[in-house]
């Protein structure tokens, strides 16, 4: 069937079920699932079990969970899933910095395999050789990708990896009698967690802003460095997509001052096999398995951070590490200066498993092709998007961008009165995401687009067509854009409750307490 492309956008409407909150489906006596009963003989021998509890600890009234029949529970959550625009269903290039790429379905088959899902971390190590092999091999692959000497997969996310880098840095300086080093330098275009997770470890954060070219200002860095410098956490390319060609000068300056350098490689997708942490002079680096390495984002986790260090810092890594000796993989809890543990057990295994499968499918040449095509796609978007009147890419930067671009719609706003948020909400009407930027908005009226390697040229064109359409519409009938979304799951949300302690309702019971009187909904 030929879709009429007269208007160059899909006549999309998101599913809209007007679905209640689960509590509204409560019907006393309905059962979603029945739990087994204890064996008759067990019941005879030990009684009802509950009376063994000290009486003051017995829960007197059951939790007020809703009672809903099984099919209705299924229907409810399936409808909520239809109200969610997962990457699998759209051309998900508008969530810049998130690296929303294809998450191969074959990897879900591996994750669902009981040989992955029904393992306990403390089983005898002879019974988990497969799991340990995957973690061990991942260590070897990431050493190749980064040039670092040893990896841990204990971090539960990129931000978590930053906390661990800060912990390693802190212990390193303490062991050397230099705990007076209490300042961490980062840049405004690095992820907020590069600042915030370091602050959790007690560091005073110094933030470097961009120079007029869009590179982090090296003069500001030189001024910021002192005998109190513990280190530098920086991402490169930064969230603007600009590669800092002076990155090794940055690390040299920090090292000269006695600090350590941690590479936030959340933005690695365009540089796999092209440029590495090692040659840039870093002591530590991490990658996001749920971004670059193909594990799905899961609505906000599970996630995984692959954290690597040079030989000099290996003894600080959290334990256990995975080693191999005489034909057996084993967990090694011996690490001289280990920072200890930063999460329970060994790491987010399903995420590690998916990433392993993703790397094996693509291989050496595949990883390089991922990067090359991600960069090709991004520069294609850049050229076409900045051809839209009023949309610009700030900063001269270099000749090209790497894997993403942060655009500014400021001129567009002045010309049309239509703000980037309006454009974002109008994109929902065509089945697309679009994201602005981390805070603060250094780039005014920003949006950040990261195509990745996962979408074909025709899909990139479709995304561009939607933006062109909306840009046109903003000039011809701005009210349509300003009042968007029109074809999404809900209409304009009134945000006034969110910052008012008297009004906010973070749970259904809280909502009923505060707003129950005015809440009149047909059963």
């Amino acid at each position: 069937m030929n879709i009429q492309r007269v208007n160059r956008v899909r006549n999309f409407h998101q599913a809209k079920w007007d679905e209640e909150v689960i509590f509204q489906l409560h019907s006393p006596g309905e059962r979603g699932i029945i739990v087994s009963e204890a064996d008759q003989e067990i019941q005879q021998e030990v009684g009802n079990g509950i009376s063994s509890l000290p009486s003051h600890l017995i829960r007197k009234e059951g939790p007020a969970l809703p009672e809903v029949g099984q099919m209705r529970v299924l229907k409810h959550f399936l409808r909520l899933s239809q109200h969610t625009l997962g990457a699998d269903l759209n051309i998900d290039i508008g969530q810049g910095t998130c690296t929303v790429k294809y998450n191969p379905k074959i990897n879900e088959v591996f994750v669902r395999n009981p040989k992955a899902s029904k393992l306990h971390p403390y089983q005898d190590q002879g019974t988990i050789q497969g799991a340990l092999q995957i973690m061990y091999d991942m260590d070897l692959y990431f050493r190749e990708i980064s040039g670092m000497d040893r990896f841990t997969f204990q971090p539960s996310s990129g931000s978590h990896a930053i906390l661990i880098m800060a912990s390693i840095m802190h212990k390193y300086h303490t062991v050397r009698g230099e705990s007076h080093r209490d300042e961490l330098i980062t840049t405004i275009f690095s992820h907020p967690s590069d600042a915030a997770a370091a602050a959790v470890k007690g560091y005073k954060v110094i933030t470097i802003f961009p120079d007029k070219n869009g590179f982090p200002d090296i003069e500001a860095l030189q001024k910021a460095v002192s005998s109190r410098t513990a280190g530098l956490f920086i991402t490169n390319p930064e969230d603007t997509g600009i590669f800092n060609p002076f990155i090794d000068e940055f690390t040299r300056i920090i090292h000269e001052a006695g600090g350590l350098c941690g590479y936030d490689q959340a933005n690695a997708n365009g540089i796999l096999g092209v440029t590495r942490a090692k040659e840039a002079g870093f002591d530590m680096c991490f990658f996001n398995l749920h971004k670059t390495f193909g594990s799905p984002h899961g609505c906000g986790g599970p996630a995984g951070g692959a954290l690597g260090v040079t030989k000099a810092l290996e003894s600080y890594l959290p334990v256990p590490l995975v080693d191999y000796k005489e034909g057996k993989y084993f967990l090694n809890w011996d690490n001289e200066h280990t920072i200890g543990k930063t999460r329970s057990f060994f790491g987010p295994f399903p995420v590690i498993l998916r990433s392993y499968a993703w790397i094996r499918s693509l291989g050496e040449e595949g990883l390089k092709e991922v990067a090359r095509i991600a960069v090709l796609n991004n520069n294609y978007i850049l050229k076409n998007l900045t051809a839209i009147e009023g949309v610009e890419s700030p900063f001269p930067g270099g000749k090209h961008r790497i894997e993403q671009v942060r655009y500014t719609w400021e001129k567009f706003y002045h010309q049309t009165g239509v703000d980037i948020h309006n454009v974002i909400f109008r994109m929902c009407d065509f089945g697309f995401h679009l994201w602005t930027s981390h805070h603060p908005y250094i780039v005014p009226k920003p949006c950040t687009i990261e195509p990745t390697e996962s979408y074909s040229k025709s899909e990139l064109d479709e995304y561009l067509d939607a933006l062109r359409y909306i840009a046109e519409e903003a000039r011809k009938e701005p009210e349509t854009v300003k009042n968007a979304p029109h074809r999404s799951v809900v209409h304009k949300i009134d945000e006034s409750w969110f910052d008012d302690p008297k009004q906010w309702a973070i749970t259904w019971r809280s909502f009923l307490k505060k707003h129950g009187d005015e809440f009149k909904r047909k059963a």
Partner: protein, 464 residues
Amino acid sequence: MKQKNKFVHPYIPNSASFNSEQIIQALGLKDIDELYGDIPERLRFRGKMNIPPAMASEQDLRKHLVSILNKNTTCEEYISFLGAGCAHHYVPAICDEITGRAEFLTAYAGEPYEDHGRFQVLFEFESLMAELLDVDVVSVPTYDWGQAASSSIRMAGRIAGKDEMLIADNTSPDRLKVIKNYCEPVMKITLVKHDQKTGMLDLADLKSKISSITAGVYFENPAYLGFLEEQGDKIANLIHQVNGVVVVGTDPVSLGVVAPPSHYGADITCGDIQALGNHMYFGGSMGGFIGTRDEEKYVMEYAWRLFGIAKTSVEGEWGFGDVAYNRTSFSVREKGKEFVGTAAALYGISAAVYLSLMGPKGMKELGQLILQNALYAQKGITSLPGVRLRFRSTNFKEFVVDFSSTGKSVAHINKALLAKGVFGGMDLSQEFPLLKNCALYCVTEMHSKPDIDTLISALHEILK
């Protein structure tokens, strides 16, 4: 520029020259490599990474992965009595169905419009947990219990305006390591002794350690070692007398039958959601939660995201969004509360589905079944000569078995059990020097009578 045998991969549509050539031409390039022109040669990696060649055929990939996974033995093939924070609980089919949905699996950071479902399902996670915990505010999932406890403890410090936290010394050692790493930059962690006979907190020692710098106390119930802490009220009274904050870590699967911490004075409740509808995944499906009452003083100290409900421009239509977003590091970087990042939302979705299916009756039935199975196991184990329970206490799903009088080490016993297809309880010798020759046994609703009988008779054999 066409190459012979160009590398084309199903995950990279524009690896097909037909596509890439069009783009290369449109950009006026001769080669994609020009796009890397801003990277100085000294920073260029020109080598080959020592990573195996592509296994682009899905069939080959599957064969390879399955051969590796087949080296593992599962807790369905062997009978497992392992717990210590990760336990074998039943996962309803609908939990897998929903977390397998492409929409939920692959969504991330969209707006509360096109991702309305994501916001609503996590709001429902918060709401369902709130009923289980009997609190009014719950955050979206954190990394795990250790992270939730760490953040709760720092929150307590900020709320009380003090910087010492008193923590039970038989808290999970791994969790304590996580807490120390996270909290010690701003808080002093002081350990409180436990009663050797019951495992419970030594109230006299607690009293002696409360001072003008005490922000509060953290203990777990059910404890890491399985026993129930029965003095919650007394502990809370002591701490509240000095305007301190009581933080309690709990196991949500117990809360259908055991009173939640908010009932005996907890100001902040935390714990893990793995047991609520998530497979064990080798310890990789952990997710933490934090719950409190709905007071501005508490809400404003959460580091993690809080999704709330809101009106829309249409009467009777409801939307969702972030509550008090400006308190987070997403909004104000290092000036935010601690930090926030991607954590464990999908496991929270599983937990929401689980709690919706179970309802109050299911949670009660579950708690009862676990208690009965665990009591039966405790009875059987203590009937073996020389074997006793270490603590004189009521336990939930885990209990400490003391094998000292048998003359055999836990390592020896577990090795022998392994040969009989049983994963014995975790050896506690390393973690707690005082618990040498003790093992932590975990019994859940997954254990049948034959499973438990197999354990008892196996132990009987081994201890002869």
